[in-house]
Structures are given as structure tokens and as C-alpha cells.
């Protein structure tokens, strides 16, 4: 229908798209380039520039050298914290969400649509409405300022999204399949294990990518419920820029930002298709 010849109008289209794409890539390019420039080099010019010599040492310093508050262990402990929160919370919330989604879509029980409706409201309820109650819960359970506390929060709150994703995927499975399996004597878990789970990889990938990205990037709970050495990497980055405000170390800071952004960027590069599917699935709730 539309041809691929290079009419002037098509050249214009390519020009505009390339310009916007360049603008979109610019912030990433600036951080990558700065992460390879020495602090002194950046201080002499601006943050936008080509490295005169590659300062790979920025990455070593960012990873395990520079100081946040009184601790000089680099960004490594905070990356570890983020991983120790994100990985378990992603696994738990995805598995529980898969079971819950299966229960409300195919197993059916009294009150299923009611409870499902309430659970999905969690997608809209602002975090601010839950900050004080979580404070009390964490304090009373002794989980304040622990990674376990953050895992608990992200697992329970993640259920709203994971249940929605899985439920919307499972409703497309014909009910007859379940009915036939029940007549054959298969129970709740057997059907889940033998029929549902083998059909699930696409939606589980979408859910895992969504949860991982969101929990890794989360900031408010991390900064509210943990301090010092227990903070996830998002909170540590903010603490870092406050700590170095007097003597800026933009090269090292850029390297730290790159390291902190790398896990979710890599996941996006590898599983982009599933990432976008999650975005649009979340939108058509």
C-alpha cells in the first residue's frame, strides 16, 4: 500500500525520526561517556564531551571504592541489597499471582470476582496511602530496616499486578479443559501443575520482567523503611549525590548510575518484547 521509494517526504520522515532518536539516546550517551572520563576532566569542561583518555578506574571506584555517608564500600553492598530484595520478591509475587490468577479465572469459587476486584484496586491505590500502615507493620514485626521487610512489602503489593496479568492470560484457556481434568479426578494443584503451568511460560516471563523492573527501580519504600547499609541502590544513589555535593565526582557518579541501571537495561535488551507486552497489558486493565 505505502511504497518504499525514497521520495523527499520519506527522507524527511527518516530525518525527523533520527533526530528524535538521537535526542532520546543522548542522556544514555552522556552517562556512558562521563563514566569513562576522569573527575578532573569533567570539572574543566562540561558533562557533555568525549573522553580524552578512558578512565576505566571510575567503574572500580564506583563499584567498591567511594564513600556514601561514612561507609566507603562503593555501590556494591547496595546492589547486593537490591538483588536480595528484588529476586525473592519477584519469585514469590509471580508464583502466588499465578496461583491466584488461576484460582479466580478457572477454578471459580464463591466470591471470586469480588476478591479479584479488590485485589486489582491495588494497582491504583497510591503508595502514600500505605506508608504509615507499613511503618506500623514493620515496626511490630521487627522487620523495620531489613531486606526481609522490603521483600514482604513488594510480594504483597506485587500481587495486584501479578494476579491481574495471570488472570487475564488464563481466562483464554477453555473451561472444558479444567472440567474434563476434574472429572478425571485431578485436583486444584494437579491441574495447576500439569495443565496450567505448561501453558504459562509467556505470561510468566512478562510478569517476572515487570516485577523485577518495578521492584529494582522502586525508591519510596526503600528510602522510607531502610537506612544506611540496608538501603537498595536507588536510595543509595540519592544519598551518594547528596554526599558528594561539595566535592563533585561526576565521573565516578556516572559509573555508579550506569551500574545501578544496568540490570533493568539488560533485561529490557534481552526481553524487550515481553517488557512491552507487560506495559500494554497493564494499560488495558
Amino acid at each position: 500500500m505505502r511504497d518504499r521509494t525514497f521520495a523527499p517526504s520519506r527522507i524527511l520522515i527518516y530525518l525527523i525520526v533520527s533526530l528524535i532518536a538521537a535526542a532520546w539516546l543522548a542522556p544514555l550517551a552522556v552517562v556512558v561517556l562521563n563514566s569513562l572520563r576522569s573527575n578532573e576532566e569533567i570539572a574543566q569542561g562540561s558533562m557533555i564531551g568525549w573522553p580524552q583518555h578512558l578512565a576505566w578506574s571510575n567503574y572500580a571506584a564506583a563499584w567498591s571504592g567511594f564513600c556514601v555517608a561514612e561507609t566507603c564500600a562503593g555501590i556494591r553492598p547496595y546492589m547486593l541489597n537490591s538483588a536480595l530484595v528484588t529476586i525473592p520478591a519477584t519469585i514469590f509475587s509471580t508464583l502466588l499471582g499465578a496461583v491466584a490468577g488461576y484460582a479466580v479465572s478457572l477454578w471459580r469459587f464463591r466470591g471470586d470476582s469480588w476478591i479479584y476486584g479488590i485485589v486489582t484496586l491495588g494497582i491504583f491505590l497510591p503508595q502514600q496511602m500505605r506508608l504509615l500502615p507499613w511503618t506500623i507493620v514493620l515496626r511490630d514485626t521487627g522487620l523495620m530496616n531489613t531486606l526481609t521487610g522490603l521483600v514482604l512489602i513488594h510480594t504483597i503489593q506485587g500481587l495486584s499486578f501479578t494476579t491481574l496479568f495471570c488472570r487475564n492470560y488464563y481466562v483464554a484457556i477453555p473451561q472444558e479443559l479444567i472440567r474434563a481434568a476434574r472429572i478425571d479426578g485431578a485436583g486444584f494443584f494437579r491441574i495447576f501443575w500439569r495443565i496450567i503451568l505448561p501453558l504459562s511460560p509467556p505470561i510468566l516471563v512478562v510478569t517476572v520482567i515487570w516485577q523485577f523492573t518495578h521492584i529494582w527501580n522502586e525508591f519510596l519504600y526503600g528510602v522510607t523503611f531502610t537506612t544506611g547499609q540496608q538501603q537498595p541502590v536507588t536510595a543509595a544513589l540519592i544519598a551518594l549525590s547528596a554526599a558528594v555535593a561539595d566535592i563533585p565526582q561526576h565521573g565516578v557518579q556516572s559509573a555508579a548510575v550506569m551500574i545501578a541501571a544496568l540490570p533493568t537495561l539488560l533485561i529490557y535488551l534481552i526481553g524487550g518484547k515481553y517488557f512491552v507486552r507487560g506495559l500494554t497489558a497493564g494499560a488495558v486493565k
Binding site: 528524535i20 557533555i48 485485589v119 497510591p126 502514600q128 500502615p133 495486584s160 494443584f189 522510607t224
Partner: protein
Amino acid sequence: MTIAVSTGPGRPATSDRVRRLPEYLAIWVPLLLSAAHLIAFSLWTIWISFTPSTLIPVTGWVGLRNYSAVAASRNWQIALDNLLLFGSAFVLLSLATGLILAILLDQRIRGENVLRSIFLYPLAVSFVVTGTVWSWLLNPGLGIQKLVHDLGWTSFRFDWLIDRDMAIWTIVIAAIWQSSGFAMALFLAGLRSVDADLIKAAQIDGAGPVRMYRRVILPTLWPITITVIVIQLQFAISTFDLVRALTNGGPGIATQLPALVVYDLMFQRSLLGRGAAAAVLMLLLLLAVLLPYAAWRYVQRRRAIHA
């Protein structure tokens, strides 16, 4: 009738219940935990907003006093003004950017996949990272202004980050960069699902590309447009991390937003009652967006069923 076979006569129903206990637990525990925490947490925060709680939650009743105190504070008023400006500018501009990108990418161009990935990658990055990077780019002594000065144009000014009146626009810029790709993805999906017969019919009628978009294709996109608006507004209302990393509410309190006021009241000034009231006000703002949307969706769906 088939269930009776497995239970059999003489087997009491309770043993069946016991046997199925793991199943009940698996079904109910996660769902109940999620639903109960949502309801209990909301009700508790609403209740606290009517108490005189300061450092710790206390019982008591002060009516709407927390609400009037929040509404009368300069912090909150500035936050609301900012939200209005930021919300409308960000939503309109990201909508326009997303639509333009979607239309351009829909012209069967080479490298569409790569381009789409470029416009979407900011969504994989945290707001903290986005805010930090843009705070460097927009910092007049470090970023774009410094670069242009070094290149020789020394009277060039781009110092919105430290300008009280313009600082909120730095948040708009960063937010557009972060989430226009989302609008693009939804619009592109919409453009790709336009009925081919509709396009063919318009072509036979002799419609050129511009007319085609204005009269035939774009009108089919308005349900998607509303969805994008609602989701972007929802994001605007709860913006927190981005501002913390980019301007931290400054200069002064020039880029204050409701979520920052809530945090400030709850955890920096230890005024729990007022903080809770501000959180409830945020919820009301969200509901003002979401309830009409839910009603609209309901009508749309009923119409689709009856059509």
C-alpha cells in the same frame, strides 16, 4: 455427580474439607492478604487523617482540622499549582510526542524495531536514574548551558533548573523523555489495528495521506488516547522519585508536588495526622481521574455487548 464418586458414602464431608485444606489455603491466603491489606491500610490511613496524631498514631477526633491545615499550607498550594501545570503540560506533550512517533514509525520505515527500542528504553530505567542524569544535563554549570558556553556562545542561557518560575519544566522534560515511548507503543498498536477495509475505502475515494489520518485513522484512536491520558495523569499525580532526584522540590519549594508534601509531613515533620490527610487528598485527586474513566469504560463495554 462426579464429585460424589470420589467422596463416597459414609465418608464425612469434614474429611473432604481437611483433605482440601491446602487448596483452600493456596486460593485464599494470597488473595486475602492482598485484599485485606488494601482495605485495612486505606481505612487506617483515612482514620489517622481525622486524629490529632503527630509523632505516633493516637486516638481522638479532630474532624477536618488536618485537612484544612494541609489545604491552607503554602506547601500544599504550591504543590497543587505545580501538579496542575506539570500534569497538563506533561500529559499533552507526551501524548503529542507519542502520537507523532507512532505515526512516523507506521510509515513502513527501515529499522522500526531499533527505533521503537530507543523510544522505549527509558521506561526500563528508574526515575532516580532519570532524575539524576537530567539534573546533570540541565544544571547550568555542568550540562547543556556549560557546553554551549564552552563552544563560544557565552550569552546562551538555559538555567531552568535554578529558576523558580521555570524549574517545574525540567520535571516536564524528564517525564516526557521517560514516558512518551509508552504512549507511542499504545498508539502504534492502535494504528496497526485500524480496519484495512476502512483504509482501502478511503483510498478509493481518493483521500491523500493527510486526509486519511485526519478523517479516517485518527478518529479510531480516541479510546486509546483516553486510556493514555488517564495512565499518564495517574503517574503525574503520584510523581515522587523523579522530583526527589532532579530538583528535590527546589529551588526552595518551587517544584513541590503532593507526594513530596505527604512524605515531608509524615517523615520529616512527624505530623502523621496531616500527612495522612494529604495522602487521602492525593487519593481523592486520583479518584477524580479514575472514577469517570471507570464509568466511561463501563458504558463502552455495555455498548460493545449490545452492538
